[in-house]
Symmetry: D2
Subunit: 107 residues, 4 copies
């Protein structure tokens, strides 16, 4: 779980602020996922950036800075015989990008 | 432990790259610690930045960018009746800034 | 002007995402300003973080992550006999945190 | 030139600290370049990450955190009839990742 928390916050604090638009968003998702997967004990990482935040007006300033609210992420950690799945998801009620452990399996 | 991991990685990925010199290092340590303490479930956070990396030559370029190797950190998390202490410390043998859980107490 | 641009983007891309609340905001402003001032050719740097974004509810999640919209910044660069003042300010019409050069003086 | 400086520092302060290894380095280079290109006034951006810093041992901790020393970058800005080329390159003598304007053209 400790490792899962590390990976969650890496997604957030390394990449929030990154300029991104509709043309680059898919590539950025993949880079963030792969970045998490190079770290120790990560079985898989999947990051989705919500497209609702993008305009498609196409003017000079038509990009956004990545915020935590835009990120949905799932990271699976395997350490010994334990597999932990953690997720990051924007909570509309709390208005907060929650990070939580969604499953712990003993293999 | 999940929360402890989040806080550890926040220290690292938010602040690595920050320009710092001998005049500002103490203030930066305090700001990082206080930044961690505003997050949920943190009882205390303590960050120390190793001074060995600084030169005191005083020329135009006499500052360094904060790296993970320079950071010693301890974060204490309290969630319900559990208190978790996590630490970040550069491991000379592994040549890696290790993050680890150093104690778990049931209160 | 090149140096001024570097400093503007340092404020933004280093610190966006930092957790902050009403208790730590003043300290964070000072740390960002002082961080910019350790870099070459900076005569002064002043950063203001808009308080409107903070709630004062005081519950567990009552902090915000610093965004570019919240930052007002002014950096004065001196290189040889030229002094350049650059500013960062959220533009309500463009809905964009604009960075611009506000004055160039020959001393 | 102001815009060129902004882009240079975006490369540095947004991405320094990112975990990367030999498998992901090419993708990260492309993502950084494309990230810069979504920003206003950028004609092209090219980022190269020096492979000398990677080990190929392949153990659990075999990745590095991106540092400014590892980055070679070139950004071309076009604003009106002016084209500015800026570069970032590690200077071995100064032991400093220098950012500089390498050409200004009137078109």
């Amino acid at each position: 779980m400790f490792e899962a928390g590390i990976k969650m916050a890496t997604i957030y604090h390394q990449f929030v602020g990154t300029p991104v638009n509709l043309r680059t968003v898919e590539e950025l998702e993949k880079t963030i996922s792969d970045t998490i997967e190079v770290q120790p004990y990560v079985e898989s990482a999947k990051v989705y950036i919500c497209r609702n935040y993008f305009s498609d007006e196409g003017d000079t300033y038509s990009y956004v800075s990545l915020t935590g609210d835009m990120i949905d992420g799932t990271v699976v950690i395997r350490l010994g015989s334990t597999r932990v799945t953690a997720e990051m998801r924007y909570d509309d009620d709390l208005r907060y990008p929650l990070m939580f452990v969604s499953s712990i399996e003993e293999l």
